[in-house]
């Protein structure tokens, strides 16, 4: 599975839909809650210039996102992880904004 950097900003009105296997439905509330918590964690860590925490959280999110069908979460987490390794704050900040927006806007369709 590729982890291409995300460079398609979510535009106003864009419908973000992810199709997820129906059997995974009971797992989704916790998955979404945890991803949103992790965005907060990473923002707080970034404010403290704690790049190691940003890197670790992004690393975990990179592995989890696509496994549930959220390839864009994996892609954005990969960008954040790499930016944390190079301590590139503007990239982390921009990508966290994208990720936060995505998590608020995405709609899950259970197939």
């Amino acid at each position: 599975m590729s982890t291409m950097p995300s460079h398609q900003p979510a535009t106003t009105g864009e419908t973000l839909i992810v199709h997820v296997e129906a059997d995974f439905e009971p797992l989704m509330p916790k998955f979404m809650t945890n991803r949103k918590k992790e965005v907060v964690t990473m923002r707080e860590a970034l404010a403290q210039q704690d790049f190691e925490t940003v890197r670790k959280v992004a690393h975990g999110m990179k592995g989890a996102g696509g496994s549930y069908g959220f390839d864009r979460v994996t892609a954005m987490a990969a960008v954040i992880e790499q930016a944390a390794k190079t301590e590139t704050s503007p990239t982390i900040e921009a990508e966290l904004a994208q990720l936060g927006h995505y998590l608020e806007q995405v709609q899950v369709v259970f197939d």
Partner: protein
């Protein structure tokens, strides 16, 4: 920490610290008929390795808190009753170095996260008969 075995169900030891990855793996494995014993970090994984009977297979994350999967590998292989247990490493990095080291240290296979559930089934079927 104790493990209660369910008769007739193959047991898998899963060492994975990311909560939702562990939940998904557990869901998929139990749906396929396996009993899952979960260690959320390397220290608890080591305790389970010391106390539980050898499982049918081990899923072992490379990056674990306290004791890494790479450190646990030779520890597992030193135990006579675990020598032949298939070990599949889990990694969120497809970097060659860790995978090479894992395979050289006794892992049988690896899977890069994020994973596809069908890939998980395919890799398990290399080592296990279907549980159901």
């Amino acid at each position: 920490m104790s493990v209660t075995h369910q008769p007739g169900k193959p047991t898998l030891l899963m060492a994975e610290d990311e909560e939702d990855t562990a939940s998904l793996l557990r869901f998929l494995l139990e749906r396929s008929g396996y009993q899952v014993v979960h260690a959320p970090d390397g220290k608890q994984a080591q305790q389970l390795i010391d106390t539980m009977p050898a499982p049918s297979l081990v899923l072992l994350d490379i990056m674990l808190p306290h004791i890494s999967g790479l450190q646990l590998l030779p520890y597992i292989r030193k135990k006579p009753e675990w020598k032949q247990v298939p070990i599949i490493m889990l990694t969120a990095d497809s970097s060659e170095h860790d995978i090479e080291q894992a395979l050289a240290s006794g892992a049988n296979d690896y899977m890069v996260k994020p994973f596809n559930p069908r890939e998980l089934s395919a890799r398990l079927s290399r080592f296990l008969k279907p549980a159901v």
